[in-house]
Amino acid sequence: MDITITKAILAIITNRPEKVGNSSVPTFICDNEEERDRVAFNLSKLTDSVIHDLGNGVLVAVRH
């Protein structure tokens, strides 16, 4: 039987590290938006998750 984590933030991807506090979630800090989007895209493919935009330069990968 498959057991998967759903409805949880799998990763945080940002180019504004000051917006993310001390988190227990893997956080990927990027230099610019272009790199952030590329990393986010790769992570979404690797983890079968959806990338959501929090609107402040922080993207989160969530598996639904």
Partner: protein, 298 residues
Amino acid sequence: MPRTEHIILVGLIMGTLARFVLLKVDFRQYPSYPQGYIIHLTLGAIAAGLGAVILPALLNKDYTAVTFLTIAIQQFREVRRMERDSLDNLEVNELVKRGSAYIEDISKKFEARNYAALLVSISATLAIYITQNIFIGIIAGIIFIAVFSYTMKGKKLMDVAGIEPAKLHFKGAFLLVDDIVIMNIGLEPSRDKVLDKGVGILITPKDHSAKVTLTNTGQRQAMLYDVVSILGVRRDVDEPEYTPMARRNPDTGTVGLFLMTSEIDVRGIIEVVKRTPVLETCKKQPIDSFAGKRLLGK
């Protein structure tokens, strides 16, 4: 008086015929394969057989024959369980799921069709006993088949709601169908693809009962499943952001559908949504209740 064997034979044939007529050839619903036909025709024939022998046995003062009916009911319940299990097992591999409400509805229908086969064979044999005429029995069987296939059709979504195309647009990262928020999509290329290939549909309930029915997520999932099973789904396993979704505006009760199908045909999608069955398991009729009538001032 016709011979008992002939009466049983007529009952058996009419009951089996009823099951055959009710065997819908529709690829939204299982069965659509030769194996499925064989299984259900055989089970239908057994149900018809039980119905056909019940009256001759009772008239022969063989009253224990009534216990046949309990066997029949047991068997029909088994049919329902078999359908539910088999559809549940298939669910794992579906990119867009039927949902448990739809599965329950389909398996209930399969059970009910067997009852129809049983009742048609009983009524055909009863008609022969009353009129002493085999042809009247056949006619009675045909009439009952017509009545059952008409009454078991159930309502379609277009009977309870209006369905129309709607504008798909973004507000920041939020995808909206008209003014209903569907989801948040973070990546620009994904948003472009959604706008390019996505379709938005708006479902407006016609009355309070329809509004309550549409709150059920099982009913909404059934629409998505029907559309995807006919027009195909665009997403693959690693593209969860392109999953079709249905969200509701809590203020108005309107439901917005977001769909990304292989064939982009808005009219086709609307036709499929219109013909989605209103699931028996989700259908609510609050305005028919005392409290509901009071609420709406009727």
